[in-house]
Amino acid sequence: MNRFENDRGEQEAEAAEGMILDLARLRPATPRQALRERIVADLAAPLSMETTSSARSPTPAPRSFAWLGERMLWAAGGAIVAAVPLLLQPRPLPDEPQVMAAEPQAIAAEPEMIAAEPQGDVAREPFAEESLAWSDDGVQFIDGQIPARVIRHWVLERFPGADGEGLVRPREDVFVVPVALR
């Protein structure tokens, strides 16, 4: 930097200082007295309870539950969006079915007659039953659509006869247990 540039820089600095002094003759306006009172109130209030007052016109406070309603709407919308694909999706049929319903639904099948029907004078209610055998036929599709587990049970019923000797009649119970395939 040569001497000419030094002189020029000094002149600029002096001019700037002169301008600063001129401008500084303008005094900034004092804020209103209310500002001091608001600061007094703020500094006097505990930190946790500080509610800064404002000179601006207050904006209306939001409704207390407006935010909750908005969030509930978003949550409900999200749940509906998530549920729609699940409802529209066809249910797949896995290879290994699982038994879900524990309570069997007994469907009385037509018993195979291997003995003579009790006579009309024979009491219709057996006085004794003898379990003969159980059979698990596994899962079958009823009407080709509804999966169910088929369990068979053979029983020997004893009826009191008119002659006092009594009669026996076999009975087959078929339990069809609905299952859910997953």
């Binding site: 401008l23 004092t30 804020p31 600061i39 500094l43 800064t52």
Partner: protein
């Protein structure tokens, strides 16, 4: 720290802080809010002892003003009306018989045409009386940067002022 301490600090700096806040905020009320927020925040922090650090105080007011400015965009229509209402009377300068209102208005108009970076540097230098290191701390900038901004801003301001206002304010 005693209660009277902050009153003395407020008396000394309120007008300067207020003018500084007005560089962003178009109406008095918002500028007072910025001063209030910044002042309370800094004064709470320095209660343990000592007077507040001036660059910190100005930086706090600046931060409050910028926060208010963000909300300001949402209320633009209302604020524009307030700004227009306050354009005549103003609230920038104290009424002074030694300085004509015309010249005061000319300085304000010229300042408002400067980029905000130059304007805030000039306001802090001229009316807040901060040194360049203090301005640099307030703005979080390099000292040379703020000095250059101030120098360029003053040169631009001189050109923007009407002929009669350049000679003497």
């Amino acid at each position: 720290m005693e209660n009277s301490d902050w009153h003395a600090c407020f008396d000394c700096h309120a007008a300067r802080l207020f003018l500084y806040a007005r560089q962003w905020l178009p109406d008095r009320a918002s500028a007072e809010d910025a001063v209030q927020g910044g002042f309370v925040k800094v004064w709470r922090g320095c209660r343990a002892g000592g007077s507040p650090d001036l660059p910190l105080l100005y930086a706090a007011v600046r931060s409050e003003a910028l926060d208010l400015l963000k909300g300001h965009a949402r209320r633009r229509a209302r604020e524009t009306k307030v700004a227009l209402d306050g354009a005549g009377g103003d609230g920038w300068w104290e009424d002074d018989p030694l300085v004509s209102a015309e010249r005061a208005a000319a300085v304000r108009t010229a300042l408002e045409q400067l980029p905000i970076e130059q304007r805030e540097a000039i306001v802090l230098r001229v009316w807040s009386g901060l040194s360049f290191p203090e301005i640099a701390r307030t703005l979080g900038e390099n000292e040379n940067t703020v000095a250059a901004r101030c120098r360029r801003g003053l040169a631009a301001l001189e050109k923007l002022l009407p002929e009669g206002c350049r000679e003497s304010l």
